[in-house]
């Protein structure tokens, strides 16, 4: 194999430690919220029967599915999203699942799409859904848990823009014309966050509404009031703890996908994130339509990659560069045993310790600490051992602290707490 072949496939990524730690941190914060809201984890396989995956979202999506014949002659496929494998799971395990099932799932999905900035062929989907309830309370729970997840990551400004797809349909139905049904009107309205209002009006005009009716349709939807259903959902969400400023009625919000049957929503994080950071809604007919059991459902998908990026840019993921808290240096063979014992002691206190694996010049050892952003170095030479002491060097400030051996972990904990993360 030539070394030129030693590379990742286009559209696929390695995550090196700093990036992987940031992802694990954000994931942990999100999962912490999911747990508090009673959502339970499930995991589906990385390969499914192709018949499970294909033919669900139209020809265009099918072309993006990675599928192949395995050695046993079966057509198999990598998941395109999590909804379809979850519909399969709901059917396969129907008897083992509770009547109202709240699950979360965080996993890779695969699309043979043209790679471009911020779009990858393998990316992480992070979903919560409640299956089995058509109640507005289930919608509110999804909103409340979504809000809590973003708060748990640490985002300051979390805005849930909410609408009811039924309101869109009822309001815009009267404006449908031959060649442009209400769904087509909604698709155009959906572009308001990417196109100017005038451009949207122009597109409606061109689709056959004419200029005057386009303006009327736009005015009608812009002045629509929350449906009774939506008012109930928003009131329940508010009682569940979603703050007033986070709940925002957005009558022109449409969400692209036609399978939504009720509440739809998107999450925006102010300046922290361009575009929406999560989106979802109610889809009561989809699971049955995918071959799963007939089951009402409401849920949300988090744009995990985008959220990690936003969290890092907002300083919400501290210390991910740090390879360890303390480097235990090696000064000479005679003090090796004591140095290793000190390492063991610190680790016993939950402190992350790297042991330098050989005796090198101290400068060389500090260079490793520098490369790994390790803030403290521990030095135990013969003099220190004789005196029952140990030196802790703060590599950020350059300060050295000679402390009694018994005070080691206390000193290290104090220096780590003092310090900027």
């Amino acid at each position: 194999m030539s070394r030129d072949d030693l590379r990742t496939l286009k559209g696929f990524r390695d995550f090196l430690p700093a990036e992987k730690r940031a992802r694990d941190h954000v994931r942990g914060r999100i999962v912490e919220a999911f747990r508090r809201y009673g959502f339970e984890p499930v995991q589906t396989p990385t390969l499914e029967l192709a018949s499970v995956i294909l033919g669900k979202y139209g020809e265009e999506a099918d072309r993006l599915v990675y599928s192949f014949e395995d050695r046993g002659g079966r057509r198999v496929a990598l998941p395109y999203d999590q909804t379809v494998p979850t519909a399969r799971l709901l059917a396969q395990h129907a008897n083992a699942l509770p009547r109202f099932f709240r699950r979360y799932s965080i996993a890779s999905v695969f699309r043979a799409d043209k790679p471009q900035r911020g779009r990858y062929r393998e990316f992480t989907q992070c979903d919560i859904d409640i299956y089995g309830s058509a109640s507005s309370l289930a919608d509110a729970e999804i909103l409340a848990c979504t809000h809590a997840a973003f708060k748990s990551v640490g985002f300051d400004r979390v805005e849930l823009r909410i609408n009811d797809r039924q309101t869109l349909i009822q309001t815009l139905e009267p404006f449908a014309v031959d060649g442009c049904d209400v769904y087509s009107i909604i698709q155009t309205i959906d572009k308001l966050d990417k196109m100017s209002r005038d451009a949207v009006l122009g597109e409606l005009d061109k689709k056959g509404l004419g200029e005057a009716r386009a303006v009327e349709a736009m005015a009608a939807i812009e002045s629509a009031k929350p449906s009774e259903n939506l008012a109930e959902i928003m009131s329940a969400a508010s009682n569940l703890g979603v703050t007033e400023d986070a709940l925002c009625y957005a009558p022109t919000l449409a969400r692209g996908l036609d399978y939504y049957t009720g509440m739809i929503f998107e999450v925006h994080l102010g300046d922290a994130c361009a575009g929406s950071a999560a989106g979802g809604g109610r889809y009561d007919n989809l699971i049955g339509g995918l071959g799963g059991p007939d089951t009402p459902a409401v849920g949300v998908g988090f744009g995990f990659d985008r959220i990690v990026e936003a969290a890092q840019a907002s300083g919400l993921v501290p210390g991910v560069d740090r390879g360890a808290d303390v480097l235990v240096t090696q000064l000479d063979a005679a003090t090796l045993a004591e140095a290793l014992q000190a390492a063991g002691e610190l680790r016993g206190q939950g402190i992350a310790v790297e042991v330098y694996p050989q005796t090198d010049k101290l400068g060389k050892q500090f260079k490793l600490a520098d490369a790994k952003k390790i803030p403290l170095a521990l030095m135990l030479g013969s003099d220190e051992v004789k005196a029952g002491e140990v030196t802790v060097k703060d590599l950020r400030s350059g300060d050295q602290h000679k402390v009694a051996r018994g005070d080691l972990s206390g000193t290290v904990n104090r220096l780590l707490a003092d310090a900027p993360a």
Copy 2:
């Protein structure tokens, strides 16, 4: 699609909540130890160029690789193990990585093997390795971190059986004959944990050593003393905190794979786990041989599925059946707001709460709690609201506690702490 097709592929698994929580718990405990020992997380993609994966472990392994042509005409493959993608990562990111690189990686790998009890086509590999150091201290760090990981999960008895492949080679080399070189002798010795000693002697006899020399070879290896290298490693591991009873010299331990160049070891958990729970060693020539940079390496692979099973059987994974801590019941529409506020308050205290999504008979609501193993139910009827009280029912004992609204989270926390997990 027929509903018959709604199933997982043979050899692939869904993980439902209890199982997934057990896996996440064990994974969390293991990662906690990895962190304390300065190991850093990396993640490689689920698809690689087939040229990266194939041709590394011989024809037999290649036949088990899932590989196919993608829509761009590239041969791609799912990882067969983590060592090969990591060798690729080390080559691709050589300039970004520190001189001594300790990494961990936990990911699915794929083998188109005959599925059988306990063997799956997608399974989890969990590895730690130190790249870049040939020092015995690096070997000791691997031993110490492995020991700490099993202790962190909670296993009582952790035995590291250790040997030096050089000792095996030097001791058994004189017994090699035409048609049975020293590696072939080692392969037979390696069967001592699956075959009787007599059967192993018989195989050596048949391989051409003859009865007398087979007995001599066995006696020679059984009475071998730890090499100087191994003595150094075990002494360092002991200083790092591995207890005496956990370190066991095993002169006949061979490990099947010929790429090991020095220390080799296996982890046994006594009655908790039949067979070894982890295994590894030093492999100084492998990374270069795989096309990566020439780099000494030492590491260990954890049998994750087996460890999860052993942890569950040993009662080390409590509470994984529990869908939430508290079910907030719905009594009537008038008290809905108060019930939701109580749910929000408990969640704010870190308590896992499920809100029943509609008003049903209480018995039906308790049935959901039962199905999800939720231990406590909260009831807020009109009487309670008027009196500023709330009822907490312990569904395990049937006891009901009527407490002042302000004491709610205190009461819930006390009941959860009192209770068997």
